[in-house]
């Protein structure tokens, strides 16, 4: 082709997009017809701005896209360190900072964007920076060398990246964000809160919902930031409050701009002048600017295509972001803020794991519209394509964001160890049975060994390389933790919803009480409310413990084991009047046995009137907090153990949990309350209290281990609140605290990190959950007595409410009534009067 037919194509800006444009122009043969001149303001060729922060580790060289300083095509000329100062679209000429004029046939603007610096007083003092170029970072690095504190103004994606860099340079770093949360453009409030916890855990200080009033100088340099309410020391200030398209050239040349800035272009990225094109962050296709590199690359391809006469067009880009920010994964895609009409949100917020996940689903539940993931973005790869392709969602979309089952710990049992004592079954027996898919009698009697049996079997299968089915039962293919999450995500309040959406069939005696317990932990409502009575194990269903002959025992709360003589007398009178067998329990209280179901309301009315309340001997919930007499009476006591035991028992009463919970408080190291045999045991010291966790008696006894020492009252309660809530949220069904602690990766150390060091930053959330429990506590028996619907269940026969079940018989032993030896079913004469159906 003859030289005079060649055209001149000028590219303004040698940044990421300008560079991509030139590459595409060379690759697709545009340089066959065009001489390309690239004018770049920065002193070096294009580099990877997205990876800018790694400059601190790897240096400028490693970021460069063009280390040799020139393209492998002689028809491309690069003028660096040169600014285009004026554009004359009529003459089709440019004036450069070097003074030269350049004529063009086609002009591509790729001038990018500039950081926005809010015009607050002092914004231009030495010590104030932006975060955009390698030169900016060099300057920041030099300033940080003599500085102690740094502040980043702006808590968006870039601001956090800059903050992390300052932190890495050894500065005490603050982030100031005007919006009420971090990354306001990508995540919602709850996601921002999860992110904030991660970021704070890294040592950054956050100030959200705060505007910067001024940069205050000292000796002509930035020294602090005036935030109105407070002032923050700031030797180094980095502004990262958004970007503005660099559209000054186009503006001065009279080209059309978008309303909110940026050079307005059509689908071919052509400006209002047919020979001028704009791509990357300076361009605004259809009026919208894109602050990401991928859409810029797409625009570069479109313009090369257009200049070659092709049909390519740019019609918008996916603004999905997925990034690893200071070790925290964050992703935001599609309609993350549920702006679509009728859109529904499914949210999983697992503060314990530091994870927040939200799916935005169409009104009919069939299509995924967008979402936000913080802390765990493993689902991003599956989810994002679902948005763009619009494929139909699976039936239970939340399963896409639920965590995988958490693994259990190992059992280090010798083969001959007896696992089930009721039926004398050893570990070896169970393993042998598992090997041939047989069964043993283990767990068939008292059931206390079931969790251990389950663990032994799981461990055996795992060792065989077989996947272990951690299903709760045939109706739910998930663990208790997963169920807890599912209920939290959807805010379910009843079993029907849960089984319809996530289970099969109509449930059983395993999943129903589990769902009931999870609902109780999350909702804190009466266990017999709203048809939940039929979910409860029989003890919860009748708020009493069933006995071998079908009668019940009654255990009023005697907090800390302390009781007045009047209280004792009332209990004695009730026992006498109803003919109940009376025994002091191992839990420092009194058990009244042999109550017929229909007698329970009358017995409790007497007890409640005398000021007693349910002792929850029937619930998977707090039982007792045992005490010793402590410093009040005991000559050795160093703290008031009775008061502390009572306070704790009243604080945690009624708290539904994966298994029962027990506590103990001893007044000195002699440990008369056997506190270390309890889920939480407290032993007084000269300076305060030692807190032990993970003790129990039962089939696999465990001594509680020290969690933290010499605590004052307030800290003790705070740690306990956190410990118990952490347990309730993550333990397996019927898993007491000791095996739960063993099952956590890191064991007791992990518990200490979360509870004492607050490593996940969720201490306050766990405390708040406990505060809600404490505030919402009501005595179950008092409420039952006041509710005719609940009371009508307490009858011997539905059609003969006052006729005692003839099957129940007693005999006397040591002066009290005990169950008679059962016989077969008893049939009364038909002459017995039968009440009318009610």
């Amino acid at each position: 082709m003859s030289p005079h037919l060649r055209k001149t194509l000028v590219v303004v800006g040698h940044g990421m997009v300008g560079h991509r444009f030139v590459q595409a122009a060379i690759e697709r043969g545009l340089t066959e017809t065009h001489d390309v001149v690239v004018v770049g303001e920065e002193p070096r060729p294009a580099y990877d701005r997205v990876a800018l922060t790694s400059f601190f580790e790897v240096g400028a060289e490693a970021l460069s896209f063009l280390p040799d300083g020139e393209y492998d095509d002689p028809r491309v000329r690069l003028l660096l360190g040169t600014t285009v100062e004026e554009l004359d679209p009529v003459q089709r000429t440019l004036r450069l900072s070097s003074g030269t004029e350049v004529a063009y046939d086609e002009l591509v603007l790729a001038t990018g964007a500039a950081p926005f610096v809010p015009p607050v007083p002092g914004h231009d003092l030495p010590g104030c920076f932006v975060y955009r170029t390698i030169e900016d970072l060099e300057a920041i690095r030099d300033a940080a060398a003599g500085a102690r504190t740094g502040v980043v103004v702006g808590g968006g994606l870039l601001g956090l990246e800059a903050a992390n860099a300052l932190h890495g340079l050894g500065l005490e770093t603050h982030v100031v964000e005007m919006a009420p949360r971090l990354m306001p453009v990508q995540v919602d409030d709850a996601g921002g809160a999860t992110l904030a916890r991660h970021v704070e855990a890294l040592g950054l200080r956050l100030h959200t919902g705060v505007a910067t009033r001024a940069v205050v100088g000292r000796d002509g340099r930035a020294a602090s930031l005036d935030l109105g309410e407070e002032t923050v020391e700031a030797d180094v200030v980095v502004f990262s409050a958004g970007i503005r398209p660099r559209d000054a050239l186009a503006r001065a040349a009279g080209l059309d701009l978008a309303e909110r800035g940026g050079v307005l272009v059509d689908e071919q990225c052509r400006t209002s002048d047919p020979h001028v094109w704009a791509i990357g962050e300076c361009a605004a296709p259809a009026g919208r600017m894109y602050g990401l590199v991928a859409p810029g690359y797409a625009m570069a391809e479109v313009v090369v295509d257009a200049l070659l006469g092709g049909p390519g067009s740019f019609t918008g880009a996916d603004m999905s972001t997925k990034l690893k920010l200071m070790g925290v994964d964050v992703a935001s895609f599609g309609d993350a803020f549920a702006t679509t009409e009728g859109a529904l949100e499914l949210v999983l917020a697992d503060a314990v794991a530091g994870v927040y996940k939200k799916l935005v689903v169409s009104e009919d539940g069939r299509r995924l519209l967008g979402g936000i993931l913080v802390g765990d973005v493993s689902a991003y790869g599956v989810l994002r394509p679902m948005v763009s392709s619009g494929i139909e969602l699976p039936a239970n979309p939340e399963e896409l964001i639920l965590p995988a089952g958490r693994g259990g710990g190992e059992v280090a049992l010798p083969d001959e160890a007896q696992v089930c004592s009721c039926n004398d079954v050893s570990k070896a027996d169970i393993v042998a049975a598992a090997a041939c898919d047989g069964t043993t009698r283990a767990g068939a009697t008292c059931g206390s060994c079931k969790p251990l049996v389950k663990k032994v079997i799981e461990e055996y299968y795992a060792a065989q390389g077989r996947t272990v089915d951690r299903s709760l039962c045939e109706h739910f293919a998930m663990t208790r933790q997963e169920l807890f999450d599912v209920v939290a995500v959807h805010g379910y309040t009843g079993f029907d919803e849960v089984v319809a959406a996530h289970g099969t069939g109509r449930g059983c005696d395993v999943c129903k009480p589990t769902v009931a317990s999870v609902l109780a932990s999350q909702l804190g409502q009466h266990v017999l409310d709203q048809g939940r009575a039929t979910l409860q194990d029989t003890n919860d269903a009748y708020l009493a413990n069933i006995q071998r002959n079908g009668t019940y025992s009654v255990v009023p709360r005697i907090a800390g084991g302390e009781i007045t003589p009047e209280g004792l007398i009332v209990i004695g009178e009730v026992a006498r009047d109803f003919g109940l067998y009376t025994k002091i329990t191992g839990g420092q209280r009194i058990d009244l046995f042999g109550a017929r179901m229909e007698q329970l309301p009358d017995i409790w009315r007497r007890l409640v009137d005398a000021g007693f309340e349910s002792g929850h001997a029937y619930g998977k919930s707090l039982r007792t907090v045992k005490s010793c007499v402590g410093s009040t009476w005991c000559r050795y006591g160093v703290q008031d153990s009775v008061r502390m035991a009572i306070d704790l028992e009243l604080r945690y009463r009624g708290l539904r949990s994966p298994h029962k919970l027990k506590g103990g408080v001893s007044g000195c190291a002699r440990e008369c309350a056997e506190a270390r045999a309890k889920d939480f045991g407290i032993i007084a010291t000269e300076k305060g209290w030692n807190l032990y966790v993970g003790g129990n008696g039962g089939a696999t006894p465990a001594h509680a281990r020290l969690l933290a020492g010499d605590l004052d009252d307030e800290t003790l309660v705070r740690y306990l609140d956190r410990f118990l809530m952490y347990y309730i949220r993550t333990a397996d069904r019927l898993q007491r605290t000791a095996p739960w602690i063993d099952s956590l990766e890191g064991g007791l150390d992990r518990v200490r990190e979360v509870v004492v060091d607050d490593a996940l930053g969720l201490g306050s959330e766990l405390e708040a959950a406990m505060a809600r429990h404490v505030a919402g506590y009501r005595d179950e028996w008092r409420d039952t007595l006041e509710d005719p619907d609940k009371l009508q269940r307490f009858v011997s026969f539905v059609n003969a409410p006052d006729v005692p079940d003839p099957h129940i018989g007693f005999r006397a032993e040591r002066g009290q009534e005990v169950p008679a030896e059962p016989t077969g079913p008893v049939v009364l004469g038909t002459s017995i009067p039968v009440g009318a159906p009610r």
């Binding site: 039929t534 079940d805 077969g824 159906p837």
Partner: protein, 126 residues
């Protein structure tokens, strides 16, 4: 046999025990029928079944207080004492082939639950 609202019942010796509303869905009540304790259950889809209330394992009169659910397709109640499961339709224990509890004819008429005589030998299914 099981009852559903509207089923016609012959004039046999049926005892009116309560209104259907009185039995919670997936729950049971205990009724006194000809001097015997009978557990009457209502399933999720409003079928009503009657079994002897006596649990042969624990030897206590308690079955009406058990949790009602399904095992596969089988509607069952788990004894509140030690959780053995019984088929609501036949009284067959699902954990021990040798054990079965008696079943009773039952019907629902005008919203009222009626329990009839014990069945001689329970038939399979409904």
């Amino acid at each position: 046999m099981s009852g559903r609202a509207g089923v016609e019942v012959s004039a046999a010796a049926y005892t009116l025990v309560c209104g259907l509303d009185r039995i919670p869905r997936e729950g049971g009540v205990c009724a006194l029928v000809d001097g015997a304790a009978v557990a009457v259950f209502r399933t999720y889809d409003d079928e009503v079944f009657a079994l002897g209330n006596y649990d042969p394992f624990s030897r206590a009169s308690v079955l009406a207080r058990g949790i009602v659910g399904t095992r596969g397709e089988v509607p069952f109640v788990a004894s509140p004492m030690h959780k053995q499961a019984f088929d609501l339709r036949t009284g067959q224990c699902l954990d021990d082939a040798a054990v079965r509890v008696p079943t009773y004819d039952v019907a629902v008429r005008d919203g009222a639950v009626l329990v009839g005589p014990a069945r001689e030998s329970p038939e399979e299914g409904t």
